[in-house]
Symmetry: C3
Subunit: 160 residues, 3 copies
């Protein structure tokens, strides 16, 4: 056995596993940041020029626009009553310093003692590795309300 | 330190971690394939003789029967309106070339701007490693509607 | 390359990955144990002096109190009708022999053919490594019903 080659191969494989778990932690930080009003932390999950494309609502680019949305009255009213921005069960594919995740997201909101779905979306997340770790370069969110585009986004994640 | 033995031990441990993450990706590909109408891709998550045992609905065996179900009118009508087949929070146990996962699954469907649970099930997935990667050998799905069988399936996953 | 140092470094990194996946399996065992009435197994996910602090309901300490709750009529009536205690999308941070996870939990219950959210909570789990593996030292659960405390718990998980 060529020990040195074996160790180098292991280092690459371990780095890839670390990447996948780091991306899980990044994706699963989104909800807690958004629902707790940690607006700056939520915005900084993206790169400085990162895009959050919520087709039916808006398109935000960069930390300032993102943070402004989390600080805005619509979002603040939602989280004051109680909400979960749940990122669920991602398929993650890593390719060197970029990665893609495909998953569902749900917003569940509290109202008068009841908890109900408010949004149900398909999502594609494009990540890039920066010196400080993985960040979101673009997140595309489409309501699963019958739209062809929402289904196409899911299809891309499993057939690419 | 016996370096060669240490490297061999690491290779086994890393392979097991890769298996667990590959199984997550396989399980979390199910929903995006099913909800996007990627019927062939959904069917091929199973082995050629794989079984999907949905107690209250049907029992399908093999790629052709599985694909036919995803192409059928019931499934197509569901996804045209918007649906999430969510596989959630699996416990995964790997044993060489086989593995078992126990988890919940939910089908949430869109209707007239509302999103509601349609099905809530306990699931046991039996996997087998094939030359092309992990595949589903059998998936058993039981509605969590009070049935003893659904609870027994969950119990097996945590006490085996 | 100093092979011995490289192998030692890999061993630490692999151990940390194993810890994160073991903690996922521990957290995702909770629901199947609770919903199947595996009361002893559910209680023993905690340390012998482990605490489950459910702010709006009760505070349980130790295996006997935990098991008694799972065997109690409120919990038994819930699971007889069909329920999911879903632990979802955790952010996990490991620090040697302790670890912290922050996540949502949902209880979805079956009633008369419908499945509805009953509880939606923010959660902080403090884990400790014991000779037999990771166990829960303290789990804090707060309803996401507008309470400041529930939001603070989520904020802590992403800004610590």
């Amino acid at each position: 056995m060529d020990l040195e080659a074996a160790v180098r191969s292991l280092e690459k494989r371990v780095a890839q596993l670390e990447d996948q778990l780091a991306i899980y932690n990044l994706m699963f930080s989104y909800g807690p940041a958004a629902d707790s009003g940690s607006s700056e932390a939520a915005a900084h999950l993206w790169t400085a020029d990162g895009v959050y494309d919520v087709g039916d609502v808006s398109m935000m680019k960069g930390h300032a626009e993102l943070q402004k949305m989390y600080e805005g009255e619509t979002h603040q009213a939602l989280i004051r009553k109680g909400s979960s921005h749940l990122t669920a069960s991602p398929v993650v594919k890593i390719n060197g310093d970029t990665a893609v995740a495909t998953c569902y997201s749900f917003v569940v909101r509290h109202e008068d003692g009841n908890y109900k779905f408010w949004r149900m979306s398909s999502n594609r997340w494009d990540f890039v590795r920066e010196p400080g770790g993985w960040r979101i370069k673009r997140r595309t969110n489409r309501l699963l309300n019958g739209s062809e585009e929402a289904r196409a986004l899911l299809a891309r994640g499993v057939t690419d």
